[in-house]
Every structure is written in C-alpha cells, then in structure tokens.
C-alpha cells in the first residue's frame, strides 16, 4: 500500500477529511468551547442557528455547538476504548482457536457463535441492564459486543498463516509459539484488523448513541450525542435544527470511519 495511492482514493480522502474535522473539534474542546457546555441562558431558549450560536440553542438555552464539541470527547473515548477491548480479547480468542485448533477452537467458536446470534445492540442493552448504565459500563458492554468480529477475523488469519512456509520455517528453527504469533503472524494480518477496527469504531459510536438515546448509556452530566438526540426529540417541530444538526454530526462521524475503512481496505487489496 502506497501513500499516494491512498490520496487518490476518494472514500479514504472524504472519510479522512470528515474525521480530521471532528478530531479537530474534539481536541479544541479540551481547551476551548464558545460557551460552557452546561451554561444555561433562559433568555435564549431554542434559538435558531445564528452568528452568536452557530448551531442554535436547546430548551435550556445551552449552546448546541459547544455541547456537540464536548460530546465528541465521549464518542472518541468510547469508540477507542471499546475497540481496544474487543481487539485485545478478540485477538486472544482468535489466536488460541486458530493457532492451536482442536477442542479449544470448537468451544471458543461456539461461544462466539452464540454471541453473534444476538444483534449487537441487544447484547449491549442486556449487559448494561445487568451492570447498570454509566460511562465505564457502556465501554465494557460495547467492547464485549466487538469481540466476535475480531475473534473471527483473527482466527481465520491464524489458520491461514500457520500453514505458510515462513511460519513453518520459524518453527523449524526453534522459535517459541509466542514469538511465532507475535513476530511472524500478527504483523502479516494487520490489514484486515485495521479495516475491522475502523468499522467497529463507527459501530461502537453508533451503539453508544443508541444506548444513550435509550437512557442506558452515558448518564448526565457527561455529554453525549445520543442523549442530545433524545432530548431534542420533543422539539422536533419547534426547533428542527436541534435534531437535524445532532443527527448530522453522528452521521458524519460514522460515515467518516466507514469511508476510511473502505479506503484502507481498497489500499490493502493487492489485486487492484
């Protein structure tokens, strides 16, 4: 994969631009937001977008733009943390199942199958209702939800690569299993894992928004795009921009990651 090839890839560039923009907002929000995200201004309730409030204000007169900025932190943190959890545990399961095979493989894959049988969001709802809503539990639930996808990709990669001559050669020169897995197999299967990570990232963000919309995810006062969407719902007639803008930002984030993933996959695909 070459950098100049990626630059010419439209999905990659569009997705990348969207994400750079959102990432910029997130980083800025760490130091500065136009208004305090929880500052109320009762004189300016449900104001439409204008020069002083780019995205308008909500029913308490809070600046929507500032709240979106603040909420992006939640999205990025939850996305990163849940993908990390899913990736690490999924890789572990995939490595054990794919590299050693046998009855461990059978057992682990049946568990993964069982997890896949439920729609992801249902699984997350179930986990949150057991552990209780909140920031940390949302991350754990979404992380567990991501495990099956990574475990399956990792398993198929290990099954494929353990038959490669260079892996057998490494075995023949006495390399330990741990070394073979970490130094010889993992780097070679990085591309499908990177693609899956970007896709799961958007899946997690969307699921977080969904959980928070249902009141099961991030709890007040932590800002969240999903909860903003549910708060905006009653005012859909009086203040349509509130719903529309919040929804558009979530869409942009999810679209950005999916396009980026598509682009990277195209770049890794040697046949093109």
């Amino acid at each position: 994969m070459r950098w100049n090839q990626l630059v010419r890839n439209k999905p990659f560039m569009i997705g990348g631009c969207l994400l750079v923009l959102l990432l910029g907002l997130m980083v800025t929000s760490l130091f500065y937001t136009p208004y305090g995200p929880n500052d109320m201004n009762t004189a300016m309730r449900l104001a439409p977008p204008q020069a002083s409030h780019w995205f308008g204000t909500d029913n308490f007169g809070r600046d929507i733009f500032s709240r979106i900025m603040e909420g992006s932190q939640t999205s990025f943190v939850i996305g990163t943390a849940s993908v990390a959890i899913g990736l690490v545990i999924g890789l572990l399961i995939g490595a054990i199942a794919g590299y050693w095979g046998g009855w461990m493989d059978e057992m682990l894959m049946r568990i993964i199958d069982a997890m896949l049988a439920f729609p992801g969001i249902l699984l997350a709802i179930m986990l949150v209702s057991v552990f209780g809503p909140g920031f940390g539990n949302t991350i754990v639930a979404l992380g567990i939800m991501s495990i099956p996808a990574f475990a399956r990709i990792a398993r198929s990669g290990f099954i494929q690569y353990k038959e490669f001559a260079f892996v057998k050669a490494a075995k023949a020169r006495g390399a330990s299993s741990l070394r073979i897995i970490s130094r010889h197999i993992l780097p070679n299967m990085a591309s499908p894992l990177i693609v899956a990570s970007t896709m799961r990232f958007s899946g997690s963000i969307l699921a977080e928004a969904g959980l928070s919309y249902l009141g099961l995810g991030v709890q007040p006062p932590d800002p969240s795009w999903g909860r903003m969407l549910s708060e905006a719902q009653p005012f859909i007639i009086n203040a349509p921009w509130y719903v529309f803008i919040t929804g558009a930002v979530i869409t942009a984030m999810v679209l950005g990651f999916n396009l980026l993933g598509d682009g990277i996959r195209d770049g890794f695909d040697k046949k093109r």
Partner: protein, 327 residues
C-alpha cells in the same frame, strides 16, 4: 570412522485418514555420521520430505510415528517432549526449505530474521546477534551486507534468499543441516552456486548434511552417500560413486537411466513406466514390483529385507542375497 550423529532405527510413520491408518514410512533405518553428506533421492511421494520432518519433529497433524525411534548425538528424541524439540530445532538440527521466497517472513528485514535465530538459541545480546548475522552473511558469499541486513525479502533474488536461509540455518553451528530440495526453485546457474556453497560450508563448519532431492544429478554434486527411497521404503543405500557405477536395485538403475546426459543427446529421454502407488494403494510385496522390469513371483507377495552386502552397500531386492546378484 566418525561417530554416528543421527540414527534412525526401524521407523514407521503413518497417516491417519478417516480413522484408517496408512503407513507412509516403513522400516526406515539409516545413520548419518558426523560431517557426512548424505543424500536422499526418490520420486515425489516416496517419503523423502516426511523423513526430514520426522527428524525435525514437525510431522503434520494427521501423521505420527508408530514404531521405531530417532536419536541425535546419542540422545533419543521423543515426539512428546516439547522442550526437547525447542532446544534441538535450530540449535542442533537446522533446515532449509525448497522455496526461499516463501520461507522468509515478508514483513521482517532479512538480517533481523537471521539474528533472531541466534537470539533464540544462544546467550547473546541483540548487538552480538547482529554482528554474528553480518559475519554469517559474509560467509555465505553475500556482498553489501550492511545494506542487505535491513532489506525486506521481496527486494532480494531467489539465490540471495537461499544464501540468507543457509546463513540463518548455520548461525548456531548445528550438527546437522537438513536441506529439502534447496535448489529446486532456483535457476540452473544459481543452483550450481548454492550446491558449491553447501559443500564449502560442510567443509569449513563440519556440519553434517542430509540432502533431499529428486535429482540424482544434484545429489551426485554434493553427497558422499546416497539413500534411494521408494514408496516409504529405503531400497538402496551406498556411496555415491558405487551407486552411479553399480546400481543394484532396479529402481535405482531406472532413475539413473532417466538422468539426461551429454552422451544421450538426441535420444528420447527414458521414463519409468507407471507411477508411485498412492498411500491408499500400497499392499504387500516389494513396493516397486508393479513397475519393475525384473519382477518375478515372490516380488508380488513378500516384501524383501534390506540386505547388507560385504561392502556396506544396502539393497532391498529379492534379486540380491548378501550383496550378490543371484538368479
């Protein structure tokens, strides 16, 4: 005479397919002495590679040793003991493979892969391992070694990669090097260079070699002694010159006849009629009886013993008794 390094005694290896056992190596007995260069020759499917994998303890999951044993430098290698294999593989026995292009990790600089071998087995620091790798790369005839050290495999030619593989195999000074068709994937001029290098390495380091090939011409270049295998059996075992001048087993004779040479220029190449019987179709009797021009009655019913002649020339054929042709 030098000491015995590798001793294989009455080894049987069988594949289990669908609950049934199919013997793939039978009554395999041979020795490799220290510093000796031994060749194993035979058609595809005769058990050459399986023999080397047995020695490495790398048999495929469906295959297992059912009888007999392998000992290396006086120590019996048992299939079960993982630690034993870890200290043996690479340290005492190293292996080079048919296709160097696929035997190197595409995402790791080649020099690093050589150094990794030393790091695995010897108590050396990273720096020392790198130094050893560079020295070894120079020894196998590579130039611009500092630059090559950091190159990725796709930047190298097949010959360079096979030199890298040899450097990697010999860096820990193993007692035995198994070369499984090391020149098959290379073109002819490179092939000659690699064969010369292997001979030279055997001379300078004293590493014994077990050289596997289907090409008697290649074996002749490198080895002192040759073992001819057919359908899982050793059918003949003798010094190279002896076999070339005086092949005893009809299979060996046929292999020699099939070898192209300058004298046979313009003639049609000889081929042995038929094919090696697949695993599932091997029965009693001499394994070669079905294709043998000199087969007679008992060849089809009784498997001949590996008969040792006065001069140590071993042959598995009913035509010979104590090394002498009869009938």
């Amino acid at each position: 005479m030098a000491n015995t390094l590798l001793a294989i005694d009455e080894l049987d290896v069988a594949f289990t397919i669908g609950g049934k056992q199919y013997p793939a190596l039978r009554q395999l007995s041979f020795e490799v002495r220290e510093k000796e260069r031994v060749g194993i020759v035979g058609e595809s499917g005769c058990g050459k590679s399986l023999t080397s994998l047995s020695v490495m303890g790398l048999l495929p999951e469906s295959a297992a040793i059912t009888r007999g044993q392998i000992s290396l430098a006086g120590k019996t290698l048992s299939a079960g003991l993982r630690e034993e294999w870890h200290s043996t593989r690479g340290r005492q026995v190293a292996m080079i493979f048919q296709d160097p292009m696929t035997a190197l990790n595409p995402l790791m600089p080649v020099g690093k892969q050589i150094a990794e071998m030393a790091l695995t087995h010897l108590a050396v620091t990273r720096k020392e391992a790198k130094q050893m790798a560079l020295e070894m790369m120079a020894k196998v005839g590579l130039s611009r070694i500092e630059q090559l050290y950091g190159e990725y495999p796709h930047r190298l030619s097949g010959g360079m990669m096979q030199r890298m593989m040899i450097a990697m195999a010999l860096i820990c000074q193993p007692k035995l090097l198994i070369a499984d068709e090391p020149t098959t994937a290379l073109d002819v001029t490179i092939q000659a260079q690699i064969l010369a290098l292997l001979r030279e390495m055997n001379r300078s380091t004293g590493t014994a070699m077990l050289f596997i090939s289907h090409d008697l011409g290649v074996i002749r270049e490198v080895c002192e002694r040759v073992i001819v295998m057919y359908a899982g059996f050793i059918v003949e075992d003798a010094p190279v010159q002896d076999i070339l001048e005086n092949p005893k087993h009809p299979y060996t004779a046929a292999l020699l006849q099939a070898l192209p040479s300058v004298e046979k220029r313009g003639q049609a190449l000889y081929t042995i009629p038929g094919r090696v019987p697949p695993l599932t179709e091997r029965g009693g009797g001499c394994p070669f009886a079905g294709r043998c021009p000199r087969a007679f009655g008992i060849c089809h019913t009784i498997t001949p013993e590996l008969d040792t002649g006065m001069d140590g020339h071993r042959v598995r054929c009913h035509l010979y008794v104590e090394g002498r042709l009869c009938g």
